[in-house]
């Protein structure tokens, strides 16, 4: 599940990046580019220290950079510890900001890339649904589970409803000018994401020529993620 899922996300992101950066929406081109990256320079997990940020203040600042300051300043912030994400700052507006690592936030080829740092701020609905998957996956990975074992555990938890379905209105901001998405997509375009359970991407007109909406549906996680590019970074500067 993990390989299929991340590959699909990578294709999505690549096509998205191509569209935004190069002005083309050629999905086939993106898939071709993925095929060329079939071998990975990161075949195994690196020492955990390499995934951690030694400066907690820097991780908090990077996490917050995912959303405009007007949102992020009152958000809860999680930082990565040796066993998973931990609350570093208590929030008061329902949003939660974190810096995603490679196993949740990069393409397959970069699954173990210890340099990956992807800031995101999820809203309250996503914090109660989508984010639980991110933190659960992270905990499993840091406990030494393989990708396959992690996928299996997550799928089982969803089937048993230990992990909830996406809550109505779940969305997140990914507008940071900083961060690193891995060799495949070094930097993501500024965008919003919307999370649904078991929703056909066609319902939003996603992935069609000229559509500003991109989507990826993962049937095993019963998760559909919609992506809409925005024109500014979180600091208000122009992103195109």
């Amino acid at each position: 599940m993990r390989k299929k899922k991340v590959s699909a996300i990578a294709v999505l992101i690549m096509s998205f990046a191509l569209l935004v950066v190069l002005g083309t929406s050629c999905f086939a081109t993106a898939q071709q580019a993925m095929a060329q990256d079939a071998t990975t320079p990161y075949p195994n997990m690196a020492p955990i220290d390499q995934y951690l940020m030694t400066d907690q203040g820097a991780e908090i600042a990077l996490a917050r950079s995912a959303a405009p300051e007007s949102i992020a300043r009152d958000a809860e912030v999680l930082v990565l510890g040796r066993h998973g994400f931990e609350t570093a700052v208590k929030g008061k507006n329902g949003f939660v900001c974190i810096v995603g690592r490679s196993w949740t936030s990069a393409a397959d080829a970069d699954f173990w890339d210890p340099k990956v740092r992807v800031p995101m701020c999820v809203n309250g609905a996503a914090a109660r649904s989508y984010l639980l998957r991110i933190t659960k996956i992270t905990g499993l990975i840091l406990a030494g589970r393989t990708k396959a074992q992690t996928d299996e555990t997550i799928a089982a938890a969803i089937a048993k409803k230990e992990l909830p379905a996406m809550e109505s209105g779940a969305m997140c901001y990914m507008m940071s000018k900083q961060g690193y998405g891995g060799d495949t997509i070094p930097h993501w375009p500024s965008h919003l994401m919307f999370f649904f359970s078991d929703t056909d991407p066609a319902t939003w007109g996603a992935n069609l020529p000229g559509s500003p909406v991109f989507a990826m549906a993962d049937p095993l996680e019963h998760l559909t993620q919609f992506v809409v590019a925005v024109q500014r970074w979180s600091d208000g500067t122009e992103a195109r």
Partner: protein, 247 residues
């Protein structure tokens, strides 16, 4: 076009700048409105083929090509083209703005929309109902009361999840303000305010307006309506793929 101008257009079209309006008495607003009453119905009508083309221009051809299209007649909207992908494209008129919107009766408004299937099923019936009642000559308070009664009797549907409305037409006329237009997506939610999406905050790309009213002072019954928020996110291209002005 500057970012502020685009914001102004979007907000003018769907809500006017809430903070600005909220501080002004609604009755005074009505008195100053440039469009205090309905114009002759002919001014709201269009050539049928032109209306179909405008409606379809709300979304990329890949979506609108297979969409149903409804057009306005003297008595309400009627289906002009039967689609096959569940989407419905149409051209909204001024009265689809909030009931106390200054451009409610602006006969120049032509707001092209393509709604996805959940929005077509759960948002459009409200638009149809409102339009039919207004074209039949009912006053706004009567229309509001009739819609509330229909909601209470469940003759109008509850909002479905996952609604999206494409408004990417280069040819729409959304407001008298600014450049009159700007491509965006809209999402309908039952949220009471914009906080859940971080809307209307500094540098947020998300704007939120109340579907029913700006202040509700003129039409207090609207406060008893189920919460319905419209979230707007600007996009960088028109439906034909050409770049839009930076927001």
């Amino acid at each position: 076009m500057t970012r502020n101008q685009i914001h102004s257009i979007l907000l003018s079209t769907f809500a006017i700048v809430v903070a600005l309006i909220a501080s002004r008495p609604a009755a005074a607003q009505d008195a100053k409105q440039p469009y205090p009453s309905m114009a002759p119905v002919e001014q709201y009508l269009m050539d049928r083929d032109a209306e179909i083309a405008l409606a379809r221009s709300a979304a990329p051809d890949a979506i609108s090509h297979d969409a149903s299209v409804v057009v306005l007649t003297r008595h309400g909207y009627e289906t002009a083209v039967r689609g096959k992908n569940g989407w419905v494209c149409w051209v909204g008129r001024g009265w689809m703005a909030m009931f106390d919107h200054p451009e409610f009766w602006n006969p120049k408004i032509r707001a092209a929309d393509c709604l996805n299937p959940p929005a077509a099923r759960s948002v459009l019936p409200y638009a149809y109902k409102r339009t039919e009642l207004l074209l039949a000559g009912h006053a706004k308070p009567e229309v509001i009361a009739a819609i509330k009664a229909a909601i209470d009797k469940k003759e109008l549907p509850a909002l479905e999840q996952g609604t999206v409305d494409y408004m990417m037409s280069k040819s729409s006329y959304l407001t008298d303000n600014g450049n009159h237009n700007g491509p965006h997506l809209m999402f309908y939610e039952t949220a009471k305010d914009g906080a859940a999406w971080g809307a209307n905050l500094t540098n947020s790309p998300v704007l939120r307006v109340n579907y029913w009213y700006i202040s509700a002072q003129s039409y207090p019954q609207l406060k008893s309506f189920p919460p319905l928020s419209v979230f707007l996110v600007g996009v960088d291209k028109w439906s034909d793929g050409t770049p839009a002005p930076s927001m």
